[in-house]
Amino acid sequence: MAALEERVAELEASRDGLQAELDAILNRATDRWLSAANFESDALAAMQQTVSWRVTKPLRVVRGLRPGDITGSISGRLASRRDG
């Protein structure tokens, strides 16, 4: 009987160890994803703060406009918000 109980305890410990390993894998994967997502957002924000990004912003804005838009007030159009 004692041997059986000992065997059960041994198996339970083994199970708990394996479960801890699985937990560690899940937590590690989640941490890595969180690191990457955080880093990407920060990298994008940092890039958008650079002088080159800000200097070329008007060029990207103009690329988003249709030819007909150029004839009007570009800044007015971009600044305009529909307010009823």
Binding site: A24, L26, S41, R66
Partner: protein, 534 residues
């Protein structure tokens, strides 16, 4: 990269790779804790059927363990609203439609043990910057959540903003309500700062505060919680700007919330020929939210017809049409602010004042009004014309040119742009009549304001302005027929009996103030949505 925000990333030189490999730094303890809080909040809702302590046990084993349990749960239940909530908790962002569908499909073909990995992979492939990963959230299930983003962040106060501020300043005292605006990166709704809240519900006091002594919108250290509506009512009283439409459309489709909105008009689509191109494009995107909404409270019967028409058009896509009701706006005297009132007769010329109020754009018909005025001046009538309102230079240059020509010819015409409320109110008080022959309106606030001040109006003989005119005090015309406009203005200026009758009708109109509008809007928009849920 030399930016300090990325300073902790390590760069490993490699002999074989063309670029150095960047290893992101581990997440900060605050970011990790925030993820745990968000997952715990979602689990408290979604895993409520498990024995007490189950969620705490999972969380004690780590964020990954709890995330895995949640993802396996939604993979098994296949309930869209639950998946939506799990994605919000993981990413601290409201998913857009394509991302949501991508995750749902991915979970449909992935074994449970790889479900969490497949979600992470789909998030990475969405290329959406996640800027709120260090934010905690509150899941709101017991009260409506209202997106008042623009009113909370900006001091601008014309049509839509006036409706929102007048309504919510009344609702906030009478009902349980959560006000929210959009977070950094337009990722999700968040709670308002104290200043942002004042801008919405205490506008009259806020606008009295000199700009120099106003506190900043978001005080240093302000770390707002994300506001996540779940199984509740979401109210969209503003026209959501571009950047929000995809997440809101997804919310309306998948989150299980009931979505109600105020429908102002469909002018950018139905009168696209009369407005700037980019406005039509933006509004078309906004309609993707409208077509997935549950209830629309339009600001007039005419606007309600427009939204019903759109809802019927969307039925071709197999989308159940939203219920559309009409709750007309208030008809109330505008407030003049703190400027002293102009004394009656003070410097007042003898001739009658004809007033036109509103933005200057093609559909407002400013050029037709100038034509009618010139015709009558040439007939020898003595009156002044005042136009108050701004507009895009694409159209105002035509108005400016005509006004200058008429002024040079000695006619009494003036154009006021950027005039304060006090000038507007004084002008109404001084006016013999107002003119508002717009070809397309959602409501026609200047007509309503004019009548509320007992000043008769000449306005359009169809749509929302006709609805207002039917209550008395107006002459109505076909706005596309200049001769009718000339005849109506001549009658108003030369027939005292007609003018006196219209003044009496305007003064006899039953009052309808913002208290009436706010109460009726809650009854017709919010109550039915809440009943559907409870």
């Amino acid at each position: 990269m030399t930016d300090s925000r990325l300073g902790a990333a390590s760069v490993a030189p490699s002999a074989s790779a063309p670029f150095d490999a960047v290893t992101p730094p581990p997440p900060s303890p605050a970011t990790t804790a925030a993820l745990g809080q968000r997952l715990g909040a979602a689990a408290a809702v979604l895993l409520a059927g498990h024995p007490a302590g189950h969620v705490d046990d999972l969380l004690a084993r780590g964020n990954g363990v709890l995330a895995d349990a949640l993802v396996r749960h939604v993979q098994q239940t296949k309930v869209d609203s639950e998946l939506w909530l799990v994605l919000v908790a993981l990413t601290a962002a409201f998913p857009d439609v394509e991302f949501f569908l991508g995750v749902r499909r991915s979970l449909g073909v992935t074994a449970p043990e790889f479900a969490l990995s497949s979600v992470f992979e789909t998030i990475q492939q969405s290329y959406r910057p996640l800027k709120c990963l260090d934010s905690e959230l509150e899941i709101v299930t017991d009260r409506p959540v209202a997106d008042v983003d623009f009113c909370a962040k900006y001091d601008h106060n014309t049509g839509i903003q006036r409706v929102v501020r007048e309504t919510f300043s009344r609702w906030i005292g009478d009902h349980e309500l959560e006000l929210a605006c959009w977070s950094a990166g337009d990722n999700a709704l968040r709670e308002l700062s104290p200043v942002e809240r004042r801008r919405v519900v205490d506008w009259d006091a806020w606008k009295q505060t000199p700009p120099a002594s106003r506190p900043t919108s978001t005080p240093p250290g302000f770390r707002p919680r994300l506001v996540v509506p779940y199984a509740t009512t979401v109210l969209l009283p503003e026209v959501a700007r571009d950047g929000y439409w995809s997440a809101l459309s997804s919310l309306a489709q998948f989150s299980g919330n009931r979505v109600g909105l105020i429908g102002y008009d469909t002018i950018p689509i139905a009168s696209a020929d009369l407005i700037a191109e980019n406005e039509s494009e933006k509004f078309a995107k906004y309609l993707s939210i409208v077509k997935n909404a549950d209830r629309v409270a339009a600001i007039s019967a005419s606007a309600a017809d427009e939204f019903r028409g759109f809802a019927r058009a969307a039925s071709a896509q197999g989308i159940p049409p939203a219920t559309v009701v009409s709750v007309p706006l208030a008809v109330q005297t505008p407030t003049r602010g703190t400027a002293p009132a102009r004394r009656a007769g003070q410097g007042r010329p003898a001739s009658k004042l004809v007033l036109m109020v509103g933005n200057q754009e093609p559909r407002k018909n400013n050029l037709a009004v100038l034509f009618a005025a010139e015709t009558l001046w040439r007939e020898g009538l003595d009156f002044r014309l005042r136009m108050i309102g701004g507009g895009s230079s694409e159209y105002t240059r035509f108005v400016d040119r005509e006004v200058k020509r008429l002024a040079r010819a000695g006619h009494a015409v003036e154009l006021l742009r950027g005039a304060p409320d006090s000038v507007l109110v004084d002008s109404y008080a001084e006016a013999h009549c107002t003119v508002f022959p717009s070809t397309h309106e959602g409501f026609g606030l200047p007509v309503a304001e004019s009548l509320a001040m007992g000043v008769p109006s000449i306005t359009t003989d169809y749509g929302s302005t006709l609805e207002i005119a039917e209550g008395g005090g107006c002459l109505t015309v076909d706005p596309r027929d200049d001769r009718q406009l000339v005849a109506a203005l001549r009658s108003m200026l030369t027939e005292p009996g007609v003018h006196e009758r219209l003044v009496a009708e305007a003064e006899a109109r039953p009052p309808r103030d913002w208290n009436d509008y706010a109460a009726e809007l809650w009854h017709d928009l919010v109550d039915p949505l809440e009943r559907d849920l409870r």
